[in-house]
Symmetry: C2
Subunit: 423 residues, 2 copies
């Protein structure tokens, strides 16, 4: 993990890839979407055979498969999952918003009505790894929002089954349907519907570059959570940071995949060197050593800043998905952080705590989008409608001003709609 100067780091960062995907991927994904729109289920079977190497007879997971999964995963896992579910539920309960109204004086009633979405689809990545936490973090807020129908799509394993940890998490959170389909074809099925899979209003959940591009293409016809990029951590460490802990957290981010990004910003060159050594020592003992090494080589950096102010301003420039403030009195500096998905304070609040357990959502804005985007929440699964009521008197009082504004815009039929109501 290289130690570099702030200026060199910023030069590198400006060469970051943008949300524009390659033309090749876009064209291929657009073709897949068109095919699913035209051919429905039959194309899903074909694509699954082609991309996942499995010939399925049925897309939907049945109850027997879920029962089998519960036998496989073990009681410890189910208990830990239920504990996490309780914490995630408790945190997201606080995000519920009521409908509200105001101004009922003088014959004016104005408000906003909150309504849950009708149907939501959750993409859960498959392949080598299993992500039960993705199920919890996406399904729980949708449930709390009051969404009546929630479906999961996830690619099948080579044996045609779904990972048992994912199935149990889906069962525990009360998912309505689970479909064995992944990739751009799964996104297309959720966006436009097929014989088996109902069209949804919103698609959430992480995925590879094909999934991300498919979400971008269907965006507008349905809602999506975000275009997810590789996962990132930024650890700000002053001389009070425990270097062993800081190193472990950087390594935990780097194990996600080779594109993951682990940045340490320190105000002490000595601390930087100690963390660098800790990273090298711990890395050798970790299972996913090979991925970690490539990820750190490519995107892992230790940046030395002159002051804490400079370090925190650099954080705002990076707008990291995960930020750990391993500094003295971290609460005192919270106001200086403008751009970060999740902020972990102190030596005992590692990212891994937030990934699984603490309660806040782990679906966070990546790739600098924390400058404008938020963690997934209950608010992502409702929509608002304005409500407006004026009495005859109230409208009469307002009518001249409305007519003036309408005519300034040259919209005289708008003015007419007010005039016909004048006694």
């Amino acid at each position: 993990m290289r130690i570099i100067e702030k200026s060199a780091f910023l030069t590198d960062k400006n060469n970051r890839s943008s949300a524009y995907h390659s033309q090749t991927v876009r064209t291929r994904v657009a073709e897949i979407i068109s095919t699913v729109k035209e051919q429905g289920d039959s194309s899903l079977f074909t694509f699954t055979e082609q991309f996942d190497g499995v010939k399925l007879n049925e897309l939907r997971v049945n109850e027997q498969e879920i029962a089998e999964a519960r036998d496989v995963v073990g009681e410890d896992f189910i208990q830990a999952l239920q504990e996490a579910r309780r914490n995630i539920t408790a945190f997201h309960e606080s995000q519920k918003q009521p409908s509200w109204f105001m101004g009922e004086q003088n014959g004016v009633f104005l408000g906003q009505k909150i309504t849950p979405l009708d149907r939501v689809g959750v993409y859960v990545p498959g392949g080598k790894a299993a992500y039960p936490s993705t199920v919890l973090m996406n399904v729980i807020p949708a449930r709390l929002a009051g969404v009546p129908k929630i479906s999961i799509v996830t690619p099948p394993q080579a044996d045609g089954k779904i990972n048992p940890y994912v199935l149990v998490a889906a069962y525990e959170t009360g998912v309505d349907h689970i479909y064995k389909v992944g990739g751009a074809q799964a996104i297309a099925a959720l966006a436009y519907g097929t014989e088996s899979i109902a069209k949804v209003n919103k698609i959430v959940g992480p995925g590879n570059t094909y999934v991300a591009q498919a979400k971008k293409l269907v965006y507008g016809d349905v809602s999506i959570d975000m275009i997810a990029g590789p996962s990132e951590i930024c650890v700000v460490a002053d001389e009070t940071a425990n270097p062993q802990f800081a190193a472990a957290d950087l390594l935990s981010q780097a194990e996600h995949d080779e594109a993951a990004s682990a940045i340490c910003i320190t105000t002490s060159e000595e601390q930087g060197l100690t963390i660098q050594n800790e990273v090298n020592e711990q890395m050798n003992q970790l299972d996913r050593h090979d991925i970690i090494e490539k990820s750190l080589e490519k995107n892992g950096r230790i940046v030395v800043c002159k002051s804490l102010d400079e370090a925190l301003e650099l954080v705002n420039t990076i707008a990291p998905e995960h930020l750990q403030l391993m500094i003295k009195n971290p609460y005192d500096h919270l106001h200086m952080i403008r751009n970060a998905g999740a902020i972990f304070l102190g030596n005992y609040s590692p990212e891994a705590l937030g990934d699984y357990f603490a309660g806040p959502n782990h679906t966070l804005p990546t790739n600098g989008t924390a400058a404008f985007a938020s963690p997934l929440g209950v608010y992502d699964f409702v929509k608002k409608s304005s409500v407006i009521h004026y009495t005859e008197n109230a409208l009469s009082t307002a009518s001249e001003s409305i007519i003036t504004l309408a005519e300034a815009e040259g919209l005289t039929a708008h003015a007419n709609a007010i005039r016909v109501r004048k006694a």
Copy 2:
């Protein structure tokens, strides 16, 4: 305006255009964006000459131009604008959300920190019409959210100036910069920055198909409000509706442009016929007669339903941008509306009231997207960051569960980040 059966209406509706734009437009827009990214300001001057027919020396509007505009618009307009600004401000004040925290017991602190976006760009359409209301509806919520820098982009008129009503509205709402540039090139400039125009975090505001496509393409690199489609109204009229008023409101929607859509759903065939006659009579007296006639021919329909329940279910299927409930006891039926951008109640709450004056935002989800999207609001100009703090004891209590979950996902470096913290 044709009267049709519900089934025929639904068949037509399913042929609605989707958010997929034509390949030709997409390719052209992608080229414009690349050019602006590479060439900056000089390309903006070139495109403005090419598309708007104006050779500019300066993109930014200066103070003298604003002072001149104030002289042109007249005192009545300024007063009406200020009244609207007060109403819009009062409504949007209610949307402000505080940062919050919970669970500070047992050494656990969890919360969400709300931070305004750093920079926002507002697209204001130009051309023949002037839209000062667009300025109010986009700038006021951004200001209330605390956004420090707000820029407007809007295409210049043939004389190289900006419409004076737009300029005055920008002045009254305290916009920081106004730039004479429109189309896809303006969206590209806001998304990536040029020598004159600073990169923003979010782009809001309506526009033509080029602007909409450009917003879709830059989405992900910056945030956008929505992909706006043509404006729509849906008037539900029972026998208590005033047919003259209902007709005027349908006509006011139809005057926007030929693609605008005015739908009347009635539970009474007699009422449908009366409204049809009223539409024909009033239309002939309106300035924008030609646009209205084409719009109504193409997209204007009166649908007769058997019951109010059936009518309101049809509303949910349409998910209209604007909904007027011109029915007996409209409040009693509000719970049946799931999908609508804004809901206007009774005979004296016409859409035109909401377009300019009442206070709720007029930027609303179009083209059926009210099924998943919301009116623009203060919440669109802030982002949230999760905040997580555990003490050593709190983490120790949770550690076994976290390790179990991390290992179920095969992410052993995550488990390691917890283990190194165990005493």
